[in-house]
Amino acid sequence: MPLKNRPMTNNMTDAFTGSITEAQRQVQICNACRYCEGYCAVFPAINRQRSFIQTDIIQLANLCHNCQGCYHACQYTDPHEFSINLPKALADVRVKSWQHYSYPQWFATRFQQHGVAVAVTLLLAVILFLILIPRLQPASGEGFYATLSHTAMVLLFAPAFIAPLIIIGAGIRHYWRDSGGASLTLAHVGAALRSAATLKNLSGGQGQGCNFEDGDRFNNNRRWLHQAAMYGFLLCFASTSSATMMHYVFNLQAPYSLLSIPKLLGIPGGVLLTVGCVGLAWLKLRADESLGASAVWGGEMAFTLLLGATGATGLALYLATGTPLVPTLLAIHLGTVLTLFVLMPYSKMMHGFFRMAALLRDAQKQH
């Protein structure tokens, strides 16, 4: 009856094993109860099994969106001797799983736990650009390329973007292998994308939303703000990609007009990203810390603000076009973006990749 754990790709820390053991204990109790079946994908996934090995728990943890509905509905929360706090137990496993699948792991631990480390990195990056910009000023160029040449920017950002993605990609591959993932079909991808696009797992199961900053009352604040941040980020990403295409493929150089594709994507994207992240940070301040991974509260808050700052500084830079503020704002914006990129494998940014992998794996397990 108790299944044997499969060996995992990386060695596990004692803290990670400990968090998984605690989540296993709680999940076993949940599986005997099943009252929360209607809230999200985690409970149907629990109900499909009788016992849970470590990688099953890691999968459940990454499937959990921390909507907290199950906590407030639970008969067995403290001071009951069963001491159930599933949102926290799964958040602890989730965060440690990102550390586990990152490289180097101690880097991830530091940056996830310490908002100050994120802030210091940001400061160093901004200083770097403040030093670089005057030295790399091109002979010609328009817009902010007059301040920093396109080639210099690409030389800096391409590795800073690609290296973290390689690290994350390797982590996801290990996760997929450990969780017994098979090859994907279009149906799996479709189901996972639909769930992510609508944040179905923050809907409370019936559209009433989640419990977060208002005790056991439900609302969609967190869901809509996360949607703003997520779609804002994707729009900003699409804006940058389209500008790169225009630059290299169509030989159209920046600055672009207000009605160009990069601006049409980037301005609303920046606004959504800023509003979403500020809103999420505000909710996080009002939420009950004990229902999440409280050990990484600082790092998560710093990440949320950093992500919002990429949008806000981008917008500020756009608004400052043609003023003497451009070099300074450019240094701040580029420093923010660089920090975000470099810290991707060591920050909450990991949740996007691992959540997607968990949704794919869940779709696979259902069909």
Binding site: Y35, E37, Y39, Q75, Y76, G205, Q206, D216
Partner: protein, 468 residues
């Protein structure tokens, strides 16, 4: 709890509700919606508010066609027949039929007041037609009602232990309550009693049932001690229900003394051999499907030495029932398992050997009565009899788990409580404190919540009308 509660004695309360579970909340909400000023006194601290309602999961509902998440239809007659079957006729037909008829209009009312329903839970498909399941279970329902109560301006006080009602000439005057360390007497125009039964008072249980009751586990809240019920009975209120009886089912013997709730259930009995501490069988484990038999097993186990027994299965059956909250005890031999369970000598292996030798050959069907019966034992197992011979072997301890008590206050169809000299002018009751009027014996899944909702609403409406 720092605020002084003397200010509770100054307002004029139209309705004082004693209790904080489903029935109490329904009464408070109806009264507040009728513009009454309402004070709700919940004995438990906030984290344990909601009485036994926090452990419930569904609402049995009559319906003429698909309704919310309920499929098909469930007629009043079929509902009543189901009730007669479990109570063996021990019910007040007029009150029962009224409750059944009004259940249909309660469901939309519940939704309007914040309760959400979900499709029947996995493992309970047989109930999808008759029982509407609460999304998140009973605590989610309780939370929704407390939020509604707060929005309606109802004053809720937790850890409010009511000790006495002052009644003069069949008229309620005031209630004595201890809140934290402060003792108060609070006057009200009316009172609704919704403070549950007495199953958490183990001494009372032992007096009623016998000393064996000291070993019973209480599945629900430790706060239902029956103080208000006893106070009313002492003052001459009419009672209903057998004072010596409680509803007890066989649950995991390792469950906490109180508040173990749903997860302590064990569905393995039909696939097992059940023995007492002497290693002897004492009843046909395969008499019927488990939902129809789990109630009698509470009594059967209660009659065994130390009120404990053990369900023994082998690895063939371990995946045939809902997962248990505690892992089973496990051994590679029957003797090894007996040792773990504390059954001395070779009694268990002799019982198992005799059982195995009497098992027939034939097809095993776990979900239906398969007629696979032992032959020639003193107590035969009449279905699902398969030899226990495939290690590892598993053992689950069983103990009686008390769900509720039957003794209660007699009420009329408007939920009004009466004394020997006639009805009280301004006292109503709802929920477990009066459920014995309708549920005199046995239990029907989800019917407790139906009684609580129907009578809670009635009590609230009547009390507000009287106070107006």
């Amino acid at each position: 709890m720092a605020a002084p509660y003397t200010d509770l004695t100054t307002p004029h309360w139209d309705v004082i509700v004693i209790g904080g579970g489903n029935a109490a909340l329904c009464a408070a909400i109806e009264a507040a919606e009728a513009s009454a000023t309402v004070l709700l006194l919940e004995g438990a601290p906030k984290v344990y508010r909601g009485g036994n309602s926090r452990h419930t999961r569904n609402f049995r509902c009559m319906h003429k066609g698909p309704l919310s998440k309920l499929t098909d239809s469930y007629s009043a007659d079929e509902y009543f027949d189901d009730l007669i079957r479990v109570t063996a006729g021990n019910t007040d037909e007029a009150l029962a039929r009224m409750t059944i008829n009004e259940s249909e209009s309660c469901l939309p009312w519940m939704e309007e007041h914040g309760v959400r329903f979900q499709p029947s839970l996995s493992g309970t498909l047989s109930l999808s037609r008759t029982n509407a399941f609460f999304l998140g279970g009973g605590k989610a329902l309780v939370n929704a009602y407390y939020n509604t109560a707060e929005d309606l301006g109802i004053t809720v006080v937790y850890e409010a232990q009511v000790s006495h009602l002052t009644i003069d000439n069949n008229t309620f005057k005031s209630v004595d309550v201890c809140i934290g360390t402060q003792s108060l007497s609070i006057h009200g125009a009316t009172v609704v009693l919704a403070s549950g039964g007495f199953q958490a008072d183990v001494d009372w249980l032992a007096r009623a049932w016998g000393p064996a009751a000291k070993n019973f586990l209480i599945r629900g809240t430790p706060y239902n001690k029956g103080v208000v019920l006893k106070n009313m009975l002492d003052q001459g209120a009419n009672s209903v229900g057998d004072p010596t009886q409680c509803h007890a089912v066989a649950i995991d013997g390792r469950a906490p003394k109180f508040d173990g709730g749903i997860v302590t259930r064990l569905d393995c009995v039909p696939f097992s051999v059940v023995v007492n501490t002497s290693g002897q069988r004492f009843y046909d484990e395969g008499e019927d499907v488990w939902p129809k038999r789990y109630a009698i097993w509470g009594r059967l186990v209660a009659a065994q030495q130390d009120q404990i027994s053990y369900a023994i299965i082998d690895s063939k059956s371990i995946d045939l029932f809902m997962p248990s909250v505690f892992p089973p005890l496990m051994a590679d031999s029957i003797d090894g398992l007996a040792q773990q369970l504390g059954i001395g000598g070779t009694a268990l292996s002799r019982t198992i050997d005799a059982f195995n030798a009497s098992c027939p050959s034939g097809d095993f069907h776990p979900t239906e009565l398969d007629g696979l019966a032992t032959q020639g034992l003193d107590i035969n197992k009449t279905n699902w009899a398969r030899p226990i011979n495939q290690p590892p072997y598993y053992g689950y301890p069983l103990r009686p788990g008390v769900t509720f008590t039957y003794l209660g206050l007699q009420v009329d169809k408007n939920a009004r409580v009466s004394a020997s000299n006639g009805p009280y002018n301004n006292i109503w009751a709802a929920g477990e404190i009066m459920a014995g009027s309708i549920l005199g014996q046995g239990y029907l899944a989800g019917f407790g919540m139906t009684i609580g909702t129907v009578f809670g609403r009635k009590a609230g409406i009547q009390a507000a009308r009287y106070a107006a």
